[in-house]
């Protein structure tokens, strides 16, 4: 049996608006990036041609090959940036991952206290955390350098991990405390009754339920570490610890830089975290506590 649906409802306005917005945003987000991806597969001449070639007319891997085998055609470009690119990617990955993990570990404890315990000075403490983050890096970079030097940590991962952890920590705490708050208290209680100690409760029940928040906070910490430039520049000096923004900056400022190599480096800088994000992307939108409590 068919029902005559009024026209107003026959047109799925919601879907239309949704898709229009989605496509609009998709274009907005992807087009700029697409351009450097396309450029990274072009020869220099094509990249600066007018009008632009939107699709590489004679695609080349040359710009990337320079990273793998720096003595090849692009060897002249970017000082040592070429040869350092693969290392810097590795360094960035290690530093960012460790930062994210360390951050989550530290922030989880603190955020839990803000979301579950009523205690004196909680708001003051929260703001204090923020203050440590509000002093611009430029003001603390020299003393920080001194500190790291006295710890003997210059040009090591640890220096970067520690500094990024302190950068990201206050915000991570803020992010997590909100998500923790929306985990129904009863879940924790149920876990306690099921004989879980605090850690077990956190691990088996609380954190899985708060997963979207953890992922958001983790991605935040990761990206903070991945993107930071100034501290990386000052605290590292060799390919043992240089991160990708530092190397990418070489391309930016080097006298011989070509757009296309720069683009290739940019693409490389973006791809790893993007892959990582893809992995966690589903967690981010999973509903949190659906169906768990009544009330």
């Amino acid at each position: 049996m068919t029902v005559k649906v009024p026209l107003r409802y026959r047109i799925p306005w919601k879907k239309i608006v949704l898709y229009v917005l989605a496509i609009g945003f998709a274009l907005y987000l992807v087009l700029p990036f697409y351009w450097i991806v396309a450029m990274s597969f072009m020869h220099e001449v094509d990249a600066i041609s007018v009008p632009p070639h939107w699709i590489p007319s004679s695609p080349t891997l040359e710009n990337y090959l320079g990273f793998v085998n720096p003595s090849e055609s692009q060897a002249l470009v970017g000082g040592r940036a070429n040869e350092e690119t693969p290392y810097s990617l590795r360094n960035s990955l290690i530093v960012a991952t460790c930062t994210a993990v360390l951050n989550l570990a530290l922030a989880t404890f603190a955020a839990y206290s803000f979301s579950r315990l009523k205690f004196k000075g909680s708001q003051v403490l929260l703001v204090l955390y923020l203050i440590t983050r509000m002093v611009p890096g430029i003001a603390i970079i020299i003393p920080f350098y001194l500190l790291m030097r006295s710890f003997g940590l210059l040009d090591t991962y640890l220096a970067l991990i520690l500094s990024y952890t302190t950068f990201a920590l206050p915000i991570t705490i803020w992010i997590l405390k909100d998500f923790f708050r929306s985990v129904p208290r009863e879940l924790e209680e149920a876990a306690r009754v099921d004989r879980c100690g605090w850690f077990r409760t956190m691990w088996s029940v609380f954190l899985p339920v708060a997963a979207p928040g953890l992922v958001a906070a983790g991605v935040f910490a990761f990206m903070t570490a991945w993107n930071e430039f100034m501290f990386a520049l000052f605290l590292t000096s060799t390919k043992a610890a240089k991160t990708i923004p530092v190397v990418a900056a070489n391309f930016a400022t080097d006298f011989n830089t070509q757009f296309t190599v720069m683009a290739a480096a940019g693409v490389l800088a973006v791809v790893p975290p993007l892959l990582l994000a893809l992995i966690f992307q589903r967690k981010l939108v999973q509903g949190m506590a659906a169906g768990s409590v009544k009330g």
Binding site: A75, R80, I142, Y145, G152, L233, T253, D254
Partner: protein, 415 residues
């Protein structure tokens, strides 16, 4: 000093830092040094845009290198900061200073002491594309700014190029040689010999140059407005792609412009003297890059050997590295002797007219305010003001007035 850094003094390794120009070539050259002297060199190239900052941070933090590149711009500040030690009295230094152009020697001397051995030097020229000029029926490069504008207008009106003149005028670039070149080229200056600002009083050249710039950018529109967002590399690219007929920049760029492997304009690029307001030949600007020795180095001997290898004369009294750079990349040299070196001249002929090349070196002057402690601040302000002039946000007279004001304030502040 590298005193408490790993490695450090124990095995005599020299910690050496430089901006990242051709780091691989540098490394090649250093390897040769190591083979010859069995001194280990720990070389760190640093992004050039952040070179000064990073070195300052390192010295401040006590972890600076033993030997390093120094811009003539930074020399005074770094000596004042206590980073560098004078080379006076060290082996062969006086020979070096005797063998180089006086301008370069001056640029490496601060308060009577010698601080550097030359890495390279270069002076600015008007670089033009003879092919484009020819197309517009122009046979001779301009001698005066007026002429330059007229020629450019001709090219523009011929529909060959919309903006025949391009200059790197992006703020994040720290060294706007072309402004100085234009001022020196018309025999003007910003400062008097006592380093007091004169651009708004006794010297009218600056104002007139600004006026010309404003006119070229906004009236006749021969100067590309996009210059404001151009760094040197894109300007180079544009020259190579024949999108500009004129630019003002270091001589050595011509080698690249004339390299058929890299440039459409190869063979067409020529050097000319800087056009002046009155059409006469007055000068241009030069800059000097040097190697220096850190104040606190623990491996002074080794470090000095390195600096000598790089910037000084070898056992045969030949500037090995300076020649290496010229042959490899066409970098300008401070050594008078090299001008006569047949290998050098042969190589030079491939990309520039040796006469013009030599004339530029001869008339080039370094900036006369490099030794004031507030030079960097002034240079930064200069860029801003020139941008405002180019983008028509201010008038030439207001611009020079504000520039002079800034200079006066800075001077007072630092007195």
């Amino acid at each position: 000093s590298s005193g408490d850094d790993a490695g450090g003094a124990s095995d005599g390794t020299v910690k050496f830092e430089g901006w990242d120009y051709e780091a691989n070539l540098v490394q090649q050259n250093l390897d040769r040094f190591r083979q010859q002297n069995s001194i280990k060199v720990d070389y760190t190239p640093i992004t050039s845009a952040q070179y000064v900052q990073k070195v300052v941070a390192e010295f401040t933090g006590g972890g600076g290198p033993d030997a390093l590149y120094v811009y003539d711009d930074s020399l005074a500040a770094w000596v004042e900061g206590g980073y560098l030690q004078p080379l006076d009295g060290m082996a062969g230094v006086d020979d070096v200073y005797a063998g180089i152009f006086p301008g370069n020697a001056e640029a490496m001397t601060y308060q009577g002491k010698k601080y550097g051995l030359p890495y390279y030097t270069d002076s600015n020229s008007l670089t033009y594309n003879a092919g484009i000029l020819a197309k517009a029926g122009i046979t001779k490069p301009p001698a005066s700014l007026e002429e330059l504008e007229a020629q450019a207008l001709k090219i523009k009106n011929a529909g060959i190029l919309e903006y025949p003149i391009g200059l790197p005028a992006q703020l994040s670039d720290t060294w706007w040689s072309w402004v100085w070149a234009l001022v020196h080229g018309s025999n003007g200056n910003f400062f008097g010999t006592d380093q007091a600002p004169i651009m708004n009083s006794t010297d009218t050249v600056v104002k007139d140059v600004f006026a010309w710039l404003q006119q070229a950018a906004n009236k006749s529109k021969v100067l590309d407005p996009a210059s404001l967002q151009l760094l040197p590399v894109p300007v180079d690219n544009a020259m190579k792609a024949e999108r500009y007929a004129y630019t003002i920049g270091a001589r050595y760029a011509a080698r690249d412009y004339n390299d058929p492997a890299k440039s459409k304009a190869a063979g067409m690029i020529k050097l000319a003297l800087i056009p002046s307001l009155d059409g006469g030949v007055h000068g241009t600007v030069s800059n000097t890059r040097m190697y220096a020795l850190a104040q606190d180095t623990d491996v002074k001997d080794n470090a000095f050997k390195l600096v000598t290898y790089l910037g000084g004369l070898d056992a045969d009294k030949k500037p090995y590295t300076a020649k290496f750079w010229f042959m490899q990349r066409g970098l300008g040299f401070a050594y008078k002797s090299m001008a006569a070196d047949p290998e050098v001249t042969a190589s030079l002929k491939k990309f520039a007219d040796p006469v013009v090349y030599a004339k530029l070196a001869e008339i080039a002057r370094p900036r006369n305010v490099l030794t004031v402690p507030w030079y960097t601040e002034f240079e930064a302000e200069l860029h801003k003001v020139v941008q405002q002039v180019l983008s028509n946000q201010t008038t030439p007279s207001a611009a020079v007035a504000s520039l002079e004001q800034t200079a006066t304030t800075l001077k007072k502040k630092f007195s």
